[in-house]
């Protein structure tokens, strides 16, 4: 049996949640509404995040282009994804939505540009 504490982020209430995992059975206490229980279950079973960062641009009007993972990725993969993002380079011009990395860190998720950078 494993017990984890977390704060619900669905609304400003910020309920302190206690999640008890007993094999396949997950119980959530401390929540005031059903959204809290859903959030807690997702957070313990498969927490995911969208990662946003920036990538160096060669020959652009600015030095970095902002990027994001196109969809959310497993939370445990954040630093693997960042490692590839930090190593990446793109040439200007870059258009918003352009794919910067195709399958980032084996997640199957693309990293795309979130702004356009013109050639200097």
């Amino acid at each position: 049996m494993e017990v984890r504490e977390m704060i619900c982020i669905n609304c400003p209430m910020g309920c302190p949640l206690t999640v008890t995992m007993n094999g396949d059975r997950i119980t959530v206490t401390g929540n005031t509404c059903p959204r809290g229980a859903d959030y807690a279950k997702k957070e313990v079973l498969s927490p995911t995040r969208i990662v946003t960062s920036s990538v160096r641009v060669n020959g652009g009007t600015i030095a970095r282009v902002s990027v994001k993972t196109k969809t959310d990725i497993p939370k445990g993969k954040i630093f693997d994804v960042m490692k590839e993002i930090r190593a990446a380079r793109v040439d200007a011009p870059v258009k918003m939505g352009d794919v910067v990395i195709e399958d980032c860190a084996g997640t199957g998720v693309e990293v795309i540009a979130t702004k356009s950078v013109a050639r200097a």
Binding site: P12, V51, R86, T114, K115
Partner: protein
């Protein structure tokens, strides 16, 4: 002297939304003046996601949110000047600006919309002792350096203040390989959004030290460390609680101040709590035909609300230019009073003659409250109340006043918004 129907000072989220709304309301002669070399304002450096949940029902990054409004400005062919600094605005709506192409120009505006945004409270406003070494940045400056100019500002950081930009930067620096040792917040609660505390600090195991502040800054040329101490209920450091943190970077996220030098120059009175102009329900300042919206009016938590507010200012300015400003008709002015835990209201006045069917009043509370009502009083009569499980200073609240309910009490002399326990 050249004339434009509407001149908008600032091409950030507020200015863009105001321009689009003014165009939609029928004004074609609009000019946006922007000091940066791109439109979009602060959103350009806010590369994290979470923008637009209210406006577009999806989670966008700052640049993506800005791009949607910029695209609409381009589609509508609304003229704008970049690299243009507004030097002066007068009460009778003469706007003087400077840029390289035109030099110094003074134009006359049918209406002016103030959308200059806000700036960060600097170190000098904190009275923190110690030397002035390199390595101390406001969080927004560090954000610009990292996200646009491409510099990692430091390798070991402490962040003072738990405003949203500080929280976002804690995660940003961590992702780029820096070690963020702590976030110190002098108040017993965070000034940032709960979502940011969880996803920027808890996710990365960064401690949030509430009721703590930086009491000393060490290092002569480059920052070498800071001393953090616990504070008492009066925010005075408690002797014996000092703790040393070695670090090469200190980020300050200690509040935002609306940028109102131009408003002051025009003789517009500012509100002591918001540091923004006092406005009526049409978001018109006390100078006729000059409107204000976005962070120059009061600091917002979400850009979605900036866009909403700015669109209203744009529409109202358009109606004013077209001579439909019913606020000039007969009616009376009702002050809105913030009381019992409500720190301020925007707008500060309501003009009954020009009132729309509903008016959104935005405000912030003074402390963290649990299980309280937000109540609206017309003079001494309670008109409505809403139960709130929790209220926090970091999250903007709102109530909606309707013209219908006010017409039932035509003698109302003031409207009070307050929190109530019972």
């Amino acid at each position: 002297m050249r004339h434009h129907d509407i001149v908008i000072v600032g091409g950030g989220p507020a200015g863009l939304a105001a321009a689009v709304a003014a165009k939609k309301a029928g004004i074609t002669d609009i000019l946006i003046l922007e000091r940066d070399n791109v439109l979009g304002g602060i959103l350009n450096q806010c590369i994290h996601n979470g923008f637009g949940l209210h406006t577009f029902k999806e989670e966008l990054t700052g640049p993506e949110y800005a791009a949607r409004y910029i695209a609409r400005v381009e589609e509508e062919q609304i003229p704008y000047c970049l690299n243009t600094i507004v030097a002066d605005i007068t009460r009778d709506r003469q706007v003087t600006y400077i840029n390289r192409e035109e030099g110094l120009v003074t134009i006359r505006a049918g209406a002016v919309i103030l959308a200059m945004g806000c700036r960060e409270r600097p170190r000098g406003a904190l009275n923190t002792p110690g030397y002035r070494p390199a390595g101390i940045y406001s969080a927004g400056t560090a954000q610009r350096l990292m996200n646009i100019e491409g510099y990692l500002v430091g390798k070991e950081a402490v962040i003072l203040g738990s405003g949203d930009i500080g929280l976002i930067m804690a995660r940003r620096m961590t992702l780029e390989g820096a070690k963020v040792k702590a976030v110190a917040e002098i108040m017993p609660y965070s000034g940032g959004l709960k979502r940011n505390i969880v996803q920027c600090l808890d996710d990365y195991g960064i401690p949030l030290k509430l009721s703590h502040t930086v009491v000393n800054i060490h290092g002569k040329d480059r920052l070498t460390g800071v001393t953090i101490a616990e504070v008492d209920a009066n925010r005075n450091p408690i002797p014996g609680t000092e703790e040393y943190y070695s670090c090469d970077t200190l980020l300050l996220s200690v509040g935002l101040i609306p940028e109102n030098e131009l408003s002051k120059g025009a003789g517009i009175s500012l509100n002591r709590v918001t540091s923004g102009p006092n406005v009526n329900d049409r978001l018109e300042t006390e100078a006729e035909g000059i409107y204000a919206c976005g962070n120059v009016l009061h600091v917002h938590d979400l850009v979605d609300f900036v866009s909403q507010e700015a669109a209203l200012a744009g529409q109202n300015a358009a109606e004013y230019v077209m001579g439909q400003n019913a606020a000039q008709a007969a009616g009376h002015t009702i002050p809105l009073v913030a009381a019992d835990g409500v720190r301020y209201t925007v707008p500060q006045f309501l003009e009954t003659a020009g009132m729309r069917d509903s008016v959104t009043v935005r405000f912030r509370v003074a402390d963290v409250y649990k299980d309280r009502y937000i109540s609206v009083y017309y003079d001494d009569k309670r008109i409505s109340r809403t139960k709130k499980k929790v209220l926090a200073p970091g999250e903007m609240e709102q109530v909606v006043l309707t013209k219908k309910s006010l017409t039932e009490y035509p003698q109302t002399e003031r409207i009070t918004i307050r929190t109530e326990v019972e």
